[in-house]
């Protein structure tokens, strides 16, 4: 169980969860910028922009962490994944690129006193596109449609489009759209807080619906994944994520926002954990195991030594960042 490659897989899993929980919320901010409605739509957008500003670049680094960990610890798996998933990853990259640029351009424009509405729409569209494409790419690894022929990966150019991955992409979007308004309820008051609460409840219902639908879809489109998810290893996570999701809804309904925030993080973490548990012990389901994809033990040990030092530096720095920019989203005002 505690083999080097399992620990390295744990690092990839950890990076994915962190990216979903932190980076996902920034994409969610873009999604709700597009969906903001009602009399306070402007204020909603403004709060979202302020909240994202100081943290999105840091949150984004978790994605780079996942990529680097993959090619360091699972070079063969990385090569296979990035060969087979060329198209969805290119789409995600375009989205990442325009999202970052549009946000930075808009921020710069605001500081020099110019409003750039065009940038806002690019920001919103690319915030929707990226988690959708990434969701499809991640779930494509569970379809079993990436196969090896003569030791090299083979997959059709459009294999990654199917019912299972489409729902996977939507789930990626829903995870982002779910976290943001719930985080924002903690950082706002009054009418605005009620707006975010309502958005959180809607997104929670959508996420619940999508993850529920994904199970029968998986039985048809990704049978091996479905059978593993519904085995003793996956079922506890499925059950816990359902409980956590319902708990979040109740807490949101009753206005216990601090607790709802924690429960929402739990729901997302458990959903990803369920996915990871069903994938285990494979990187590409049924085709490439973690141990077959792993780098030599010397590399993995060296990676862990770097990881340990990295965490010692990173953890207090991250705490300082989130502590400094807690509360009131506008960094120019006091928390």
């Amino acid at each position: 169980m505690w083999t080097l490659e399992n620990l390295a897989a744990g690092a990839v899993y950890f990076g994915l969860v962190m990216y979903a929980v932190f980076g996902g919320a920034d994409f969610g901010g873009g999604i709700w910028t597009a969906l903001a409605s009602g009399p306070r739509a402007r204020e909603q957008r403004s709060k979202l922009f302020h909240a994202i500003g100081p943290v999105w670049e840091t949150n984004h680094v978790w994605l780079i962490f996942v990529v680097v960990t993959l090619f360091t610890a699972f070079p063969k798996g990385f090569a296979a994944l990035f060969t087979a998933l060329l198209i969805p990853l290119v789409i995600a990259l375009i989205g990442i690129n325009f999202r970052g640029a549009a946000f930075a351009f808009r921020h710069f424009g605001r500081q020099t006193g110019e409003q750039i509405p065009f940038m806002v729409s690019i920001f919103a569209v690319s915030s929707i596109l990226t988690p959708f494409a990434l969701g499809m790419a991640v779930t494509a690894t569970a379809t079993g449609k990436i196969v090896f022929v003569n030791g090299w990966v083979q997959a059709g150019p459009w294999f990654w489009i199917g019912p299972f991955t489409l729902v996977g992409g939507l789930t990626g979007m829903a995870i982002c759209a779910y976290l943001t308004p719930i985080y924002m309820t903690v950082r706002t008051e009054g009418e605005l807080q009620r707006d975010f609460r309502r958005q959180g409840i809607i997104a929670a219902l959508v996420l619940g619906f999508l993850t529920t639908v994904e199970i029968p879809v998986a039985m048809l489109d990704a049978p091996l994944f479905a059978s593993r998810l519904l085995s003793w290893r996956g079922v506890p996570f499925v059950a816990m994520s359902v409980i956590s999701g319902i708990t979040t809804l109740i807490l949101l309904w009753r206005g216990r926002f601090q607790w709802a925030q924690i429960a929402a993080v739990g729901t997302v973490t458990l959903t990803i954990s369920g996915f990871a548990a069903a994938m285990y012990p494979d990187l590409l389901i049924g085709q490439l195991s973690l141990s077959a994809a792993a780098a030599p033990p010397t590399t993995l040990r060296a990676f862990f030594s770097v990881l340990a030092i990295g965490i010692i530096i990173l953890a207090p720095s991250l705490l300082l960042l989130y502590w400094t920019f807690r509360g009131e989203p506008n960094p120019e005002r006091n928390p």
Binding site: P54, V55, E57, H60, V61, L63, I64, F65, V67, V68, T69, F71, T72, P75, K76, F78, A79, A80, F82, T83, L86, L89, L93, I94, I96, N97, F98, G100, A101, A104, F105, H107, F108, G109, Q111, T112, G113, W152, P157, A295, T298, T299, A302, F303, V306, L307, I309, G310, I313, L314, S317, L320, L321, T324, F325, P331, E332, R333, N334, P335
Partner: protein, 443 residues
């Protein structure tokens, strides 16, 4: 277009852009640190204002640097999966350390940029220290991965598979030390001159504020301290390359045939058909002296290596000369400025020295880009020298031409947008007094 060529073009364009943003991300923190430190030390608020005014355009450039860096980390797998399957266990460590350094940089950048109202001055200064260190660390380690491609180390190949993998030996590969030193210093020179150019232009336009003078002095000081070190580290690099990467040296210096007492060619066009350098200035025995400190030393030319294993000198020699020429252009402009500054004990406002600085200001970036091109074109045809050719590392996916086209459009949109944005407020931005008067500050 051919798949390998498309992949090379895309990787090259992506890196070419990223290098500019990454360089500013290394050089600017040092200047921020010096400015904030001077403010704390002297109590002069102007230094703090100086630093705070840099962060607005810098914020955009850093953001573009972060996304262009993400594009690169993806492209390693999208374009070169076979190379990464081979080298991942070896160069992954360098990227992991670089990743953590970049993480730290992103965190303290955000704290410094957005934390003005929530952090103390001492804390802001502390952020710039961490920023400067983290940026330098990330440069030094990402260069290790590049150096590994030039001088692969830390493994053995047994029947085509990796054996005896030593990631720390791979990290500390032979080319790392000189590449890391030369490359990181280059970032300080390039950023210093680029920033100095902006303020030279402002002074030329008659905006003789204290602010502009001080910003020019600070930026140029950072560049000028690093500039002589570039010469020393460059000399060390050349001497090391003469031992470790002989075909690259031959291509850099357009030396076709192995020669005792080899001459140095300045400029000129190397013609592989005739094995001659046309139109170049020939200085006898200088190459032997520079490479081995012996005017009669034997220098191996391109003919000393099997055909098909050496780089094309037409792609290497001109960029090498451009890099060296850029150095002398910057040196001349800097010496002129500091000479007048020393004689008059104040920033000279004469037209010509400022024009010289303005002219020299892009040459830090030019030198950096051409030095990088020398390194990479000089490595051809290998992706990992002696072990894997570029064509063996490329993806088996066939539609890379289309991906190249897509990213060309993306980069075009990005850079046009960036230029429009940075140019538009430039006229008022250089004068803080009026800017705050008639421009709306973010609420």
């Amino acid at each position: 277009m051919d798949n390998v060529l498309s992949a090379r073009a895309l990787m090259g364009i992506s890196l070419g852009f990223h290098i500019i943003y990454a360089t500013i991300g290394i050089g600017l923190p040092l200047m921020l640190m010096i400015a904030e430190g001077l403010c704390l030390r002297t109590g002069d608020e102007l230094y703090h204002q100086l630093a705070r005014r840099w962060i607005r355009p810098a914020g955009v450039l850093f953001a573009i640097g972060a996304v262009s860096g993400t594009i690169l980390s993806f492209e390693l797998g999208l374009l070169w999966p076979r190379f990464m399957a081979f080298s991942g266990p070896l160069i992954g460590l360098a990227f992991s350390i670089e990743g953590f350094a970049f993480f730290t940089e992103a965190i303290f950048l955000a704290l410094y940029f957005y934390g003005e109202q929530r952090l103390s001055r001492q804390m802001l200064f502390f952020c710039t220290i961490i920023l400067t260190v983290a940026a330098a660390v990330s440069a030094v380690f990402v260069i290790s991965a590049n150096a590994w491609m030039q001088t692969p180390a830390g493994f053995r190949l047994v029947n085509g598979t990796l054996a005896d993998v030593h990631p720390f030996q791979a990290l500390a590969n032979p080319a790392w030390a000189h590449e890391a030193l030369h490359g990181t210093l280059a970032a300080y020179v390039a950023t210093g001159f680029a920033v100095a150019g902006v303020y030279a232009l402002a002074l030329l336009r008659g905006q003789n504020s204290d602010y502009n003078k001080r910003a020019l002095t600070l930026a140029l000081a950072v560049a000028s301290v690093s500039l002589p070190l570039m010469l020393v580290s460059g000399d060390w690099s050349a001497m090391t390359i003469a031992v470790q990467q002989k075909p690259k040296l031959a291509a850099m210096e357009a030396l076709f045939t192995t020669t005792r007492g080899a001459p140095l060619y300045i400029g000129g066009w190397p013609d592989p058909a005739t094995g001659q350098v046309r139109y170049g200035i020939r200085i006898p025995k200088l190459l032997s002296y520079l490479a081995f400190r012996d005017p009669d030393a034997l220098v191996e030319g391109l003919d000393a290596f099997p055909p098909g294993t050496t780089p094309d000198p037409r792609l290497v020699h001109p960029f090498f000369d451009l890099m060296v020429a850029s150095f002398f252009i910057m040196l001349a402009a800097a010496v002129w400025f500091w000479w007048l500054r020393w004689r008059r004990r104040e920033v000279p406002l004469d037209k010509w020295p400022l024009r010289a600085l303005l002219l020299a200001s892009p040459f830090g970036m030019v030198a950096l880009e051409s030095g990088w091109l020398v390194t990479e074109f000089g490595r051809q045809p290998w992706i990992a020298k002696g072990h894997m050719r570029v064509a063996e590392g490329v993806t088996p996916q066939t539609s890379i031409g289309l991906v190249l086209l897509t990213f060309l459009v993306v980069y075009l949109a990005l850079n046009v947008g960036l230029l429009i944005l940075l140019m538009r407020p430039a006229s008022t931005e250089e004068v803080p007094e009026t800017t705050q008067g008639n421009r709306h500050v973010d609420t």
